[in-house]
Symmetry: C2
Subunit: 465 residues, 2 copies
């Protein structure tokens, strides 16, 4: 159901007992609250803290793969920054996780047109034999074509899934791309293939392949899986077209794994007048190839800076604002899962949650996942955000990967949807660096988040029912 419609229905239901109900039943901001929202937006649009934070994180830590020593340094960075900014109860909540890192990766067309290919291993890929494996390439136009292929005929081959990804504002092309990235190795492995190469889940035209989480199959059917950059996938497709016979490729992937390492979520709070919680944040880890500026240094920076603005208001907020710098998201949402497990007994205190994890583009839409009766509160928030050119959304908010586990426990979530037109040019590549962030767009995010956090804290009533 579209939220506008649901809200209209909820309003009618609420209005039905009519005269008996107080005016307070239709939520609204007080004049003073509205003033504060506007002041937060004004201040956010000029605030340099988010930029300072993302510059510091990406420069001083750089890449910070989940479970790595660099991610541990990032946690220390997070603790230092949150303390310096005046957050309270600053701490690291640790958890254990399996570790995977790339050691070496290379690919080349061996025959008939010898040349190297730009390739990167997908996360958790198994290794090839040392020195690599060489095999004939079989191309599939799409992941669905591979899934529809017979169970025999691919034994010992390198399966090449050449499916391309559509560029969209809302990132809707990513779902199909993730299916390919996560399932290609599984389907190839079932059919006895030697390895799988996919066209990167990305929209750019640079020789920087996109990594990302992939399933690899298990046991006997686990196969090495890697992504080619878009120009390299073009090249391999052309080679197949032009060859008078088989095209053979050598793929060499070496990885290092550990059964268990320690990672953690960094947490800091602005204590409220009640123990009700608003949970916001971004993820602290990044893929190893870039410096994690848009994914997700920006989210860390925006939510921290926005919470700081609300914390700087006179008096305590009504609810406690908890900033979580989530750990190890990219490699399996370990931080999000650990948080839900550790906090499940106090899940009712979690009034609302939201994550910023879709780059650094402007927020253009406000989505919620509220109980129907709370939908009028979404409309109030939406109206307050409209001067930032943020439009109405739906009530099917995703919320963010790290809050998925608490969303599953019933915590209402919102999404401040960002323009992701160029997000998948950068995502999971070496090109995810600070220069890709537009400082003005970053400030618009801070303004929107500050306004949202403040309203979520101060509005009467919750968002569940």
């Amino acid at each position: 159901m579209k939220r506008a419609l649901a809200a209209a229905l909820a309003a009618i239901v609420a209005a039905a007992p009519a005269v008996a109900q107080t005016a307070g039943a239709v939520p609204t901001l007080s004049a003073q609250q509205q003033q504060t929202v506007d002041r937060l937006i004004d201040t956010g649009l000029e605030d340099g803290l988010a930029w300072e934070l993302v510059e510091s994180l990406t420069t001083e830590i750089g890449p910070r793969l989940g479970g790595s020593p660099a991610e541990a340094r990032a946690r220390d960075w997070g603790v230092r920054k949150l303390k310096a900014l005046g957050f309270k109860n600053v701490r690291i909540e640790t958890y254990e996780m399996p570790y995977w890192e790339r050691v070496h990766e290379a690919a080349e067309i061996v025959a008939p047109f010898p040349q190297s290919l730009a390739v990167t291993a997908l996360g958790r890929s198994v290794a090839t034999p040392e020195g690599g494996l060489t095999a004939e390439v079989v191309r599939f136009r799409t992941q669905l074509d591979l899934e529809a292929a017979p169970q025999t005929g691919l034994e010992g081959k390198i399966v090449f899934v050449d499916e391309s990804m559509a560029r969209t504002q809302d990132g809707s092309g990513y779902g199909t791309a993730v299916r390919k990235r996560s399932q290609a190795a599984v389907e190839a492995g079932k059919r006895g293939a030697a390895a799988v190469l996919i066209r990167s889940a990305g929209t750019d035209s640079h020789r920087n392949p996109h990594t990302g989480g992939g399933l690899r199959g298990e046991g006997e059917t686990a196969v090495p899986a890697a992504a080619l950059s878009n120009p390299d996938a073009d090249q391999l497709a052309r080679a197949l077209e032009r060859a008078n016979g088989p095209v053979t490729v050598r793929l060499d992937i070496q990885v290092r794994t550990e059964q268990s390492v320690t990672s953690g979520n960094v947490i800091g709070e602005i204590p409220g007048q009640t123990d009700e919680l608003i949970v916001i944040g971004g993820h602290l880890d990044s893929w190893d190839l870039g410096t994690g500026a848009v994914d997700d240094g920006a989210g860390i920076a925006v939510t921290t800076a926005a919470a700081k603005l609300v914390g700087d208001l006179r008096g305590k907020p009504k609810r406690t604002i908890r900033v979580v710098m989530w750990g190890a998201e990219e490699v399996g949402i370990y931080g999000g899962k650990a948080y839900a497990e550790a906090h499940k007994d106090e899940i009712d205190r979690h009034v609302i949650a939201a994550e910023s994890d879709f780059g650094a583009g402007r927020v253009y839409q406000f989505d919620t996942r509220f109980g129907d009766e709370a939908l009028p509160r979404a409309d109030v928030m939406e109206a307050a955000l409209r001067r930032l050119a943020i439009g109405p959304g739906n009530n099917a908010a995703f919320g963010g990967a790290d809050i998925g586990p608490i969303r599953a426990l019933g915590v209402p979530v919102v999404s401040l949807r960002q323009d992701g037109s160029d997000y998948f040019d950068l995502h999971h590549t070496p090109d995810d660096t600070l220069d890709k962030i537009d400082p003005a767009a970053l400030r618009q995010n801070v303004a929107a988040w500050a306004a949202f956090i403040y309203m979520a804290s101060e509005m009467d009533g919750g968002f569940r029912e």
Copy 2:
């Protein structure tokens, strides 16, 4: 002197004896020639041969470093293609040259912010000790700042020349960039530095550093030299800014060299009615990082396809059209120098020469380097090209690196100047791949070159005097 002015003066001089002179003294195209030019342009704008050639070269050969086995395969490719297209006297003119190739390259910030940096060795760089060298970084804002620095104080340091390059249509930012690329190691070496890092001579924001020819100093003062991508140069500059003390970098460059290998120019001709020669072409070699699509597969493709169109006209051209696929340009213009040496005794037969070596962007300007009295012929050519949106140029044409040596022997040259706004995003990087070529712009080049070649062949009189 601007060409228009020079031409005007030449015309006045020519006109001075007035009545005594024949009308033929002011060059012009006959009605039939004008018709042929227009037909060549029409055909060129629809001709798919250039695309077919550059697709074939970049796919079937790919990267083809001067002196490498891949360049030898490219020569065989060139011979096959020229013969198949009906060119005559197809041959390879060989020469010997020193060889250099990269074997391994890596760089990382060691302290205080450990992380890897995207780096590529400059051509002919010497190697570091195995395993690399680690040293403190000293930054210079520009190459001029380095050149102005005292001769002491840099001993054992890694000199970082952080000069950025301006994006321009005509590539005018490249001169400054080349000074940095070629001189940084020399100046650093003189001062006892351990190595030199430059910000790439490029205008893009991707983590693909630009290689290119560099001087390295000689003997005692030869130092390893490498380029950082623009985002990595930004990062190193920020690290220097944020560190409370020295920033140390490890640089590891391993190379392989050979004293002498065989390379060659591939030559094919459309025989004319006379032994006067029009020499056109592009260079067949490329840097090793990309597949050499815009540098210079496009030039090979455009000039070959354009010559073929002229060869397809009824009857022999007046002058012989010689297509040269120059070898080993990037690594030292070995092909161009060898050609001039081999053909110096017949240099007078060379009526005019031109190279296409500035990418695949549209031609927007026609430059010449003619004798003053031949300038009216430039105006005729210019006028004929105008329907392709090509405007008037100057009489200081560069002509192209490979024809520099015969230009120095007095051969008149022209430049069909191409829009290079994005050329230095791609140039000498892994991103120089086929997808970067706009087929429509490529065809506009073919049309312009076909018209130029035809006019150069058929016009009365030469371009020297």
